[in-house]
């Protein structure tokens, strides 16, 4: 399993790795937002968190797909 993940990761181009890390960074921001909301509400409200996660992740996935399409068309890839 781990070797498969490594293989997939190594097969990615540099800009695809960058896009992957960007996606993870934004997902970590969502975690911080959920923590902040839980502190503000002083309770873990599942419905609020699930709704927020759905909207946020849907937006993020769409944004990443648009970026991927744009990069695959316009980016000049680095020569190794």
């Amino acid at each position: 399993m781990f070797s498969l993940i490594t293989e997939i990761y190594n097969a990615l181009k540099q800009w695809q790795k960058a896009l992957l890390f960007s996606f993870i960074s934004y997902a970590m921001l969502l975690f911080l937002i959920i923590v902040a909301i839980t502190f503000i509400l002083r309770d873990f409200n599942f419905l609020v968190v699930a709704g927020l996660t759905f909207v946020y992740m849907a937006g993020l996935v769409v944004f990443t797909l648009i970026a991927r399409r744009l990069f695959s068309k316009r980016l000049v890839e680095e020569q190794d």
Partner: protein, 278 residues
């Protein structure tokens, strides 16, 4: 083009405050946009700490710039120098006044003919009329990309450690992940790449077209071997040679900002184009 982001703000103001608020928002936004457009070259000059030329190179550069700008029928740019380890040059301006920035390293490393070819390349970019839009894109994309440096400093000042410690670097890496995507999208959507046209025009404007290929090759090799980062990726589309590298995991985001062909490709193209232009 840069007034487009004003539209939602104007609509919100119109919805909340009526017609007067909407008109005020449009006027204020237009004034701010115009001011930023006018000031963008000066802001970038300050960003790089650029200063006017002095010393023995001044006369050579001034005479060559006035000669080649007259030949290509473009306004003569004001030459400036800035401190950088990479032998690069770039031009900023807003269709009225242009500034040509040359790194101190370019003056040290490139010989006289190679330096002239780099200056010709920058003048060729002015004649392609892409400098103004690239300048304002660089200002915005650079400002967004530099937020990761702010995150690094905030991490250091709040006790996460020093610059090379894992925690501030990790925070900076995450921040770069968040800011590099919109910044790179801005560069790819709005910047205009005229590298190949400018290369060809510059090569054909020179007595020996091969000099430009030599200058590009020398700059590219020097950057590859001796320069260790320190460039804002949002400005990469401005430079004569791409100074960004993706050697380590922490530099991976630079790969999203590559808008220019590799130096090897440009050199090959110029060498193949030589017989045609002669």
């Amino acid at each position: 083009m840069f007034a487009i982001p004003l539209i939602p703000f104007a609509l919100i103001a119109f919805y909340l405050g009526g017609m007067t608020a909407g008109v005020v928002m449009v006027l204020a936004g237009s004034v701010i946009s115009l001011s930023i457009y006018r000031m963008s070259p000066e802001l970038l000059l300050r960003w790089y700490g650029a200063r006017k030329f002095s010393g023995e190179d001044r006369d050579l550069i001034f005479s060559h710039l006035s000669e080649i700008s007259g030949k290509l029928n473009v306004p003569c740019p004001v030459p400036c120098i800035f401190d950088s380890a990479a032998p690069i040059a770039f031009t900023v301006g807003n269709n009225k006044k242009y500034y040509l920035l040359i790194s101190k390293s370019a003056l040290d490393i490139l010989d006289r003919d190679e330096l002239r070819s780099m200056l010709t390349l920058e003048i060729a970019k002015i004649s392609q009329r892409t400098v103004a839009v690239n300048t304002i894109v660089a200002l915005f994309a650079g400002a967004i990309a530099s937020l990761s440096t702010v995150a690094l400093w905030m991490a250091m000042l709040t006790g996460f450690g020093q610059e090379d410690d894992p925690a501030p670097r990790f925070i900076s890496f995450l921040a770069m992940g968040m800011v590099s995507l919109p910044s790179a999208l801005l560069v790819h959507l709005f910047s205009v790449d005229s590298t190949r046209e400018a290369d060809c025009l510059a090569a054909s404007s020179m007595e020996d077209p091969g000099i430009l290929a030599e200058a590009l090759e020398r700059s590219g090799t020097f950057i590859k071997l001796h320069v260790t980062g320190g460039f804002n990726p949002g400005h990469a589309h401005l430079f004569s040679v791409n100074p960004l590298k993706t050697n380590t995991l922490f530099d991976v985001y630079s790969s999203m900002f590559l808008t220019k062909p590799a130096v090897e490709q440009r050199v090959m193209y110029l060498e193949n184009a030589k017989p045609v232009s002669q």
